[in-house]
């Protein structure tokens, strides 16, 4: 098992993703005295309570003041500390956007933002607490690495990678439990490299976050029910995006569907589309996500179902895209 991760696969189903982040942070803090934690009155919600108990002098709750938290973290990083900032994704991106942009990214400081309750995972809290545009915002800021892990193990790997890579990071994780995708942390996580979690040559689903598990389920179902071989890529790193994996998918499968718990404008789907279009190679393409609207209120899984980003929605989209005649020829008239 990589990186000294001390909990088991069984535990990973009993720990929420944020709790795994909390454990990873404690582990880092035990090894590295320069690691400090900041939050804006969300220590409990972002599961960094253990850190607070073990390292009270290195824990800073700045109150409900996200802008200040980002500035303080920038100052700390400038002085040699490695701050981890924990708050809800919506506030970590939009509420403190200028500080994220200027204090962290323009100054290119070594600070790590762990943005919890991302996408629609805080479903019942409504759109004030959904973060459906944060990838669009963060992805556009220079110097910022943006990661959307698929489960707890990947979150652990992302946090460790963030510590080991200088510069600002934005890691977007969910509230509560994520379906476990990996059996342990040792599956070859590499920053900026997609993980192929299901092989296939008929179509590629490129997903991130909680949508990866849904995509995997859809692929397995489609294999059994329709005999379709669907490739599933866990595109955990939104920026820098894995261009090679995308171009390989274009060439080898000619059909791509992206799935994200985020608006289809500016997030993973847009990032993939940019690579496809710039490649000059034709490809059937569909973006699943939130279609330029605010999401409904409800349980996360219900919202995902309503939005069509659960396995059923993905299966329907794959069947639709498979109807497109998109063979390897130069006749563009019969292609959509």
């Amino acid at each position: 098992m990589a990186g000294g991760l001390s909990y088991t696969a069984e535990q990973s189903t009993s720990l929420s993703t944020a709790e795994i982040y909390g454990q990873a942070l404690v582990e880092l803090a035990e090894q590295h005295p320069e690691v400090v934690a900041l939050t804006a009155d969300l220590a409990k919600s972002t599961k960094i309570g253990d850190f607070q108990k073990k390292f009270p002098d290195r824990f800073f709750n700045v109150g409900i003041a996200e802008q200040n938290m980002f500035g303080v973290a920038a100052g700390m990083a400038k002085a040699g500390l490695v701050p981890f900032l924990s708050t809800f994704s919506q506030f970590a991106s939009f509420r403190s956007a200028d500080q994220l942009h200027t204090d962290l990214c323009y100054q290119n400081v070594n600070a790590k933002v762990i943005a919890t309750h991302s996408g629609t995972s805080f479903g019942q809290a409504g759109s004030t607490h959904h973060a459906i545009c944060d990838l669009a915002l963060t992805r556009s800021i220079p110097n910022l690495t943006v990661i959307c892990p698929a489960d707890g193990y990947e979150t652990y790997n992302a946090v460790m990678a963030a510590y080991n890579t200088p510069g600002p990071f934005y890691i977007r994780i969910n509230r509560g439990f994520d379906r476990v995708l990996y059996k342990d942390a040792d599956y070859g996580f590499e920053l900026g490299k997609a993980v192929e979690v299901h092989e296939g040559t008929d179509l590629t689903i490129i997903a991130c976050g909680s949508c990866v598990f849904q995509a995997l389920q859809a692929a397995e179902f489609l294999d059994n029910a329709d005999g379709l071989k669907v490739r599933v890529l866990d595109m955990h790193t939104i920026k820098p995006i894995d261009r090679d994996a995308i171009l390989k998918a274009v060439t080898e499968t000619r059909r791509i569907i992206t799935v994200e718990d985020h608006t289809v404008i500016g997030g993973l789907g847009s990032a993939v589309a940019e690579v496809v279009v710039e490649s000059g190679k034709g490809c059937a393409f569909k973006k699943l996500g939130i279609q330029d609207e605010f999401a409904p209120i409800g349980l996360h899984e219900d919202i995902m179902s309503t939005l069509g980003i659960d396995s059923n929605g993905i299966i329907a989209a794959v069947r639709e895209v498979m109807k497109a005649d998109f063979e390897e020829d130069n006749d563009w008239d019969d292609e959509f």
Binding site: G71, A74, G75, K78
Partner: protein, 290 residues
């Protein structure tokens, strides 16, 4: 450390040199934020030439005192300070604001040597200063953090978040200045968005407020000495009553000179005005020095 007459004279001389360089830079650039540059110059002169521990040959020395110019648009005044100290080549002043220069209006701390924070977007500096001050405590360092805020920028709510945290964390290693020049881009502060009673506001946020004439070098030194000697657990805020455009009589106190251009004629008049100001200041030293 009481200010000797010679030291006072030296600081006046330095402030005058830097004001002249600020005017030169504005002239070379064609225009600049000269109003707020001139108002803050005495604060910067005193910090850099009497109090701050820095190493020009080792700009990132980890024990250095930090200086955060939250009112980042005063880069036109900060540039002469940093170039005169030798952090950057003085020739760089002639490139200020020009295409391809490392020095734009608002400094990039990764490009301009000696700059501790990239500022320009207002209401950011005090938070960053709280961060460096907290880091000093955690890393057991003795350095101090000096933050200079503009008065107009105090409209930004983030300053008050930062103020609350500076007091909460009892940051006595943080010394905050407000360059109270009473003017902002669109007019006098009290007309655009009233700040008064400003001292009361800072006191209510947990600071000890020292209200001084911020264009009086002796008063500035006394206020910083007071902050150094502070044995309470409250941070000190030095509320500097200043004059926008200080030193150039025909732009003084006029909000329209927040940003302005100097042609040849104005430049010559400005140089003469600075000479007059310097004379008067030296006379004051002769009269008031102990």
């Amino acid at each position: 450390m009481p200010l000797s007459k010679q030291e006072w004279l030296n600081l006046e001389k330095k402030a005058n040199e830097l004001r002249n360089l600020c005017l030169d830079t504005t002239y070379w650039a064609g225009s600049g934020h000269i109003g707020g540059g001139m108002s803050v110059m005495d604060i910067m002169t005193v910090c850099y030439h009497k109090y701050m521990h820095i190493k020009v040959e080792e700009p990132n020395w980890e024990d250095r005192d930090r200086f955060i110019l939250s009112k980042g648009h005063a880069g036109i005044a900060y540039a002469p300070v940093l170039c005169d100290l030798g952090f950057n080549d003085k020739e760089m002043l002639k490139t200020f604001n020009l295409s391809g220069s490392k020095m734009g209006m608002h400094f990039d701390s990764n490009k301009v040597v000696g700059v501790d924070a990239s500022t320009g977007s207002l209401g950011h500096g005090l938070s960053i200063g709280v961060g460096t001050a907290l880091a000093a405590r955690l890393l057991k360092k003795d350095y101090k953090t000096f933050v200079v805020l503009g008065d107009g920028e105090l409209d930004e709510g983030s300053n008050w978040e930062a103020a609350m945290s500076a007091a909460h964390y009892k940051l006595t290693n943080l010394i905050t200045f407000v360059d109270r020049n009473h003017n902002m881009i669109d007019g006098p502060t009290e007309e655009v968005m009233a700040l008064e009673p400003l001292a009361d506001k800072w006191e209510a946020f947990g600071f000890i407020v020292k209200k001084i004439d911020g264009n009086n070098i002796k008063e500035l030194c006394e206020a910083i000495d007071f902050a150094y000697a502070n044995e309470t657990d409250k941070p000190v805020l030095i509320l500097c009553d200043t004059v926008k455009g200080c030193g150039i009589d025909f732009i003084e106190g006029d909000f329209r000179w927040h940003y302005g251009a100097f042609d040849d004629a104005k430049y010559e008049s400005g140089k003469k005005a600075l000479e007059e100001t310097y004379k008067k200041r030296v006379e004051r030293v002769e009269k008031e020095a102990e």
